[in-house]
Symmetry: C2
Subunit: 316 residues, 2 copies
Amino acid sequence: VAILECVPNFSEGRRPEVIGAIRDAVARSGPVRILDLSSDSDHNRSVLTLAGDPAALAAAVEALVAACVERIDLNRHQGRHPRMGAVDVIPLTPIRGATMQDCVRLARSLGEEIARRHAIPVYLYEEAASAEHRRDLAAIRKGEFEGFPAKIRDPLWKPDFGPDRVHPTAGCVAVGAREFLIAFNVNLATGDLEVARAVARAIRHSSGGLRFVKAMGVMLEARGLAQVSINMTNFRGTPLHRVFEMVRSEAARHGVAIAGGEIVGLVPEDALLDAAAFYLRLQGFEAGRVLERRLEEIRPGASAPGHDGPGGQGGG
Amino acid sequence: VAILECVPNFSEGRRPEVIGAIRDAVARSGPVRILDLSSDSDHNRSVLTLAGDPAALAAAVEALVAACVERIDLNRHQGRHPRMGAVDVIPLTPIRGATMQDCVRLARSLGEEIARRHAIPVYLYEEAASAEHRRDLAAIRKGEFEGFPAKIRDPLWKPDFGPDRVHPTAGCVAVGAREFLIAFNVNLATGDLEVARAVARAIRHSSGGLRFVKAMGVMLEARGLAQVSINMTNFRGTPLHRVFEMVRSEAARHGVAIAGGEIVGLVPEDALLDAAAFYLRLQGFEAGRVLERRLEEIRPGASAPGHDGPGGQGGG
């Protein structure tokens, strides 16, 4: 079965009864798995992490959109995070037995359905984008809810689906397909924020660094440490170990050591297995060597193709 | 459901029709999973890798023993690997949702049943051992099939279950509980076998090294490289990264670099996640952060406790 992840962001982070009602609507939609829900009251925004097959996710997203349109009025919404819709953004990510193309296909059909049912303008972004200038979510969202009545009249920003008119309370929505995003922070053994900023500039794509890396320097006031805060937008293209080693070497240039790393949220198993294989110099390593994967792959009573040389698990 | 691994070794590695019949008997025994079967004709020995819950493994092992007793006569068996039984050794290992104590319990009940049904003397070893001098499989097996009629009369070597008399064709069997064994080889960038031997001596328990490490130096003739061949008998006690780093530092003393590492057979996911966490300096890392684990833990439609701070998967 193909498993995709979907991480819808919606514009309510303060009223627990509204957040709970939206969550419950998603839970009742069918066999989707709710992996996480986090709400931020400064941002006035919530993020749901869902997983399931395409049909389960489609039902969940439709329930989510209906629940948000009913309960959220963007004319009364304020928060620190930019937003253009009650449901602001719906990214899809392949997880297991699924391709990016599956996600693009689902993004398109979801977008079409949302536009049809609710008369909300829909923009496709990243891998699902219909034009190069629409790949970047920030470019689509620029102007936000308040600026969109003007922006939507620009032929460059005609919606991919739905009317050329902003929904009066629910605004617009972006639906996209992208690789899994890993939030990886590295703390430096210094209180000097400038070092973290210099390292961030060195490693990030926008200033000449690694292609699938976004980064900034931030100060961890409580600990007195400077942190390089990193978003990895494609861990297969730019793997964890390459990012970490570049942080280490750039920090060393300033005479600064690594204090520690941390993963925020979830991380795909493959990203960590790749790091282990790099550091242990494993040659021709395949994830099929992992015991637990083998357990999943093989049906009860079935025989695996023999592959171990002597010396594997022999000898008792 | 508790999942254990069982890796029975039996004394037939040459006659494919016998090996196949034994394998088929195991496959027909019930819902056990056969992860691997490897036979070595020099050793004249085969190794089955099985996984399942305790009941499935008990049924599989009973079918295996019956099939081996019927088809293998140790009086006619020759091979390079030491052996004392038609079924020589039956190690049990906890994999998921199971403890070492579960394995010890199953080792005892399996041993009792094998002795009762087939009148084969049974020795418990490693974590299941009934006395300290019986922990080590090599000590139990010493003397082999041919020497056991004398050895079994020594009160020190009275069987844990079954008669004080070697089975005339099937010999004796050792049933034990142990941690997962990882076979990890590190190739050195040298053709000098003495360097690999020196590194092996430095890292292994028997000559003063790491507690859960067995190692030897071997020559890879075809590649012209010396290899440190390592058995890790408890990867939680002595983790992969510590072994690898010690190999690296001991080899460097001789001016020799690492050419590469390899895993033979299967490796538990936790062993590689631990290595990734070490090298990426992840602080307070838990396997629950791994996306795929989260997918397994959470039932459809259920809610996970919220745990991500903002900045996890937010932002679309």
